[in-house]
Symmetry: C2
Subunit: 347 residues, 2 copies
Amino acid sequence: MARPNKRTTLREVAEATGLSTAAVSYALRGKHVSKETEERVRRAAAELGYEADPIARALASGRTSTVGVLAGDLQDLWQQQLMAAIGRELLAGDRYALILDAGGDPERELALAKQLRDQRVDGLLVSPVDPSAEGWSKIADAVPVVSIGDALSRARTAGEVLFDNRAGIDAVLDYLRGLGHRRVTVLTPTGPSTPDRPADVYVREAADRLGIEAEVLPCPQELDAATAVARRVLANSPDGRRPAGALAPPTAVFCFSDSIAYGVYAAAAEASLTVGRDLSVVGFDDHPVSRVLTPPLTTVDWGLAEIAKEAARLAVAAIEGRRVRRKRILCAPRLSERGSAAEPGRG
Amino acid sequence: MARPNKRTTLREVAEATGLSTAAVSYALRGKHVSKETEERVRRAAAELGYEADPIARALASGRTSTVGVLAGDLQDLWQQQLMAAIGRELLAGDRYALILDAGGDPERELALAKQLRDQRVDGLLVSPVDPSAEGWSKIADAVPVVSIGDALSRARTAGEVLFDNRAGIDAVLDYLRGLGHRRVTVLTPTGPSTPDRPADVYVREAADRLGIEAEVLPCPQELDAATAVARRVLANSPDGRRPAGALAPPTAVFCFSDSIAYGVYAAAAEASLTVGRDLSVVGFDDHPVSRVLTPPLTTVDWGLAEIAKEAARLAVAAIEGRRVRRKRILCAPRLSERGSAAEPGRG
DNA sequence: CCGTTTCACTTAACCGATTAACTTACGCGC
DNA sequence: GCGCGTAAGTTAATCGGTTAAGTGAAACGG
């Protein structure tokens, strides 16, 4: 009524009740005031439509009941799923999730993380582009950080939700080997900061152990780019049109993300190869759409819902200052065997 | 060096340079101070590693160089794409996009919008669950709001990016009719607040005009739920197993979103129907994955990149107080004709 | 009956900036 | 030499809360 387009402030509630601003502030947060006063204040606040200004509160108290969620690359379908799941999980716990996208740029990633820290997010969840960056350390000192997918090697984080990549790789390669494949191309995501990806090492180890000839190639997540890479992989393909000096054609492609696998599907279609018969494809995320492809993509399910739940739990625990049994959650892979991988046909 | 884990404040820079905090504040923002002083201040600030506290700044100035992006439902694949695109667009313009997810809940949507307004986002982009809600009005009075997909009927927004649904519906139904379809099921997204969707009306009008028998059914976006609905639609399907009293089976399904179409693909596969031969399916978003399906999904392309660009442009213009020629952008549909729709086979 | 808690508030400092209003000093025209 | 405009800073209020420290009165133990 009073001033149009102006919010009611704490002071106004104080004047309305004849109390001090401090009393009102305490009352609204249920701290050492009499039952009656609290009730009186609540009533007045409701009447005036008072709602605390989060910015002022953040400045004074240093807290915001807000959690930052930083995606390394929101273009990636799987990260989209992850962010959605985390957001929902946090919302269920009455905290606002602010989702930011680093767009795959390590510098931007740190800049955004700092921005969030400065905005006083109570906690920060990251699916990092560059987990080994120096900068994480200072950030993790100022706000509890939970990382997902990769451990932040130089920071003391509040928790980590990691994937047992070794087990996942073993499972997939075992499976392919069991089907009879001996020549597998492995497409791993290109990352700016990955001089010697542990995943690559695992692949080689597993391949050696199983007697599989594995060719590891970096591949972008984005569909068109992935398709282009896949085209090159299939160029030296079963029908014999293979350039001199090219590697032998793979009978199976193991993709480190389902979006990469989609690129392979697209390239296979162009080359008139039938996935699941002429070419086996295995993914690594279990994106919902993977079930709809023809044939449905055989992939690795890491339990997205639980990942989100665990990550949120770790963050909330850290925010509330609770200790937690295990700061490091290791997700186990479950192979979702569907139709896209089969025995190699003609080699 | 001085105090560990404590940021340098404006005051400290002031003391270091022997100036007042006001002078430093002005200097850092290049306002009426001498060149030399400005230089001196910059140097000192850099030396002390000073960075302005965004919260304090927001409280004092009311601005944040931050834009809120509110997704009605981040579970929806298309909105995921949209959010990613918008985030990237804004980042390119040096503004941070804070993405929030309302989870399809209209009340939560407004609560989050208020939260963002209170956090002093400079602008707000919304892909609304409930565009007709009262609450938008107060929010749009406090911060420039650009809505995407639906106009906020009760608010004075800073801009709108809408889809020419009528044209899209006409294009699709025209196309299906041209192929020979006379019996089409239309799956529109379930929305909590849609008592009489204009889209439904358009469909009926177009169907009447074209002599098509259209059955409009609400359908959730989420894959499993959509599959369930699609199963029911196909239950009374070409092979004759149709329950007594059921509607005649459609020869084509027109889905108001690609994710719904994915559900139809899944249900069709279960029923051993070949999409593009036994059943025609058309989508409405052009999600990247749609190209990878077998057959590739015929769908409507609205130009996601341009939508994001226009929305960001409108928001930025409003934030900077610039006037803009057209506040209302109407996106034209482009039918991406691929393999999922064909002439009806045996009916 | 006195000293000590405890309760229920109040006072006032503080968070870290921005910004309106005021002060100085200098240069300039006449 | 005087008044005036302007450039370059300073002072202090303000944004809207939180919170440590203080105060006065009632309750309580001995």
